[in-house]
Symmetry: C2
Subunit: 223 residues, 2 copies
């Protein structure tokens, strides 16, 4: 997912991408010195990047040392509950504040999900849709909180877009949200958002639970 700030491949950004791409595995232990050769930097900036990543929830301090944040089912549940709060509120605020042009652009984003055939593009356009919805709320703290949520959820993306059917469903539901907003129907937009999140979240958690079983059986783990 795009880092709103850094445009040049900063160390923070590179580490972040390594984690989000699962190149650094969830739960993996990291040592500051151990990262030096891979990322061609000295401890000080690596340490700074790790601290920043910790504040984004992608990395945690262990007893002594760091580890990539594990993918925790309870945390995902909490994130989706939190996200419901943020995103339904965003929908209401966007309904009040967004201009018709903004909403057209949002509908465009919703529409673009369908055209893409690749799961990767579906992920990105899905993320963009939800982020844009938050932006239309006009509240900087809401936006920032949504960014945090989406970042923390990003590593689970591979399960959401597995089937063409679920990509199609996301497209339908995003479109429904955008259309309710275009119709200035705040209640409808809130409801559409809520049901989209409820369904998506439930399927994600179920799917993750099953994957966890499978992985455990094969000796792997999610952290």
């Amino acid at each position: 997912m795009p880092d709103p700030d850094d445009v040049s491949p900063t160390l923070h950004r590179r580490l972040r991408e390594a984690i989000l791409s699962l190149d650094l595995a969830p739960g993996e232990r990291l040592s500051e010195r151990g990262l030096e050769p891979e990322f061609r930097a000295s401890r000080t900036p690596i340490r700074a990047a790790l601290m920043r990543l910790a504040s984004e929830g992608l990395v945690r301090r262990d007893d002594r040392g760091w580890r990539v944040a594990p993918i925790d089912l309870d945390e995902i549940r909490g994130l989706y509950e939190f996200r419901e709060i943020l995103e339904t509120a965003s929908a209401r605020l966007a309904c009040d504040r967004a201009t018709p042009e903004d909403l057209e652009a949002l509908a465009e984003l919703a529409g673009s999900t369908a055209a893409d055939e690749t799961p990767e593009h579906s992920i990105d356009s899905g993320t963009s849709f939800h982020l844009e919805l938050a932006r239309l709320s006009g509240n900087a703290f809401l936006i920032s909180a949504m960014e945090g949520v989406l970042t923390r959820l990003y590593r689970t993306r591979w399960v959401e877009v597995q089937s063409a059917e679920s990509r199609e469903r996301a497209h339908r539901e995003h479109t429904a949200i955008a259309e309710a907003l275009l119709a200035a129907d705040a209640d409808g937009a809130e409801l559409a958002t809520l049901s989209h999140l409820r369904g998506t979240g439930e399927r994600l958690i179920t799917s993750l639970g099953e994957s966890r079983q499978r992985l455990r059986a094969s000796g792997l783990s999610l952290g």
Copy 2:
């Protein structure tokens, strides 16, 4: 203002307290080396503390350097809007999840506000009440977001508790929230929370606007 983590007077905590107590003025420029003598530490830990404070919104990066986050009226407005979202949701969740004992403890906190005569204690108990309400939601992200909001708002506390009358009003409204929760009245609790925040926020912003006028007239500023 209590730091949930650090119990020993860490550097981060000391810097944080210096900012929250307005000992370091809003908008004041800070230099890493310049803080060394005052805080008896070298650049590395000071830098780390500044980065952490930046992620809490108490400090910002300037073009070159750091500055204590100014007190910005628009930001306060945004914070209160965000807080409405978080806290009404907290009330609803708490209504579902909190045990009667939890709610009794919350009512106790609400009650303790009145007994205190000093503005200082009124601040602390008020903060505790709102933080406890968030805790009863049982959602870690909601709690953490509320902590962030309260931290960012903390420096404006001196205006909220100026008059005995406003302290009394806070007491009444907190009690009303706690009682609605005890009655398992989710709608009532949400409404009581909303009206408490609306009123408090509005008065705060008005008051800050006037203070800003007065300060500007006297040559000072809030950053």
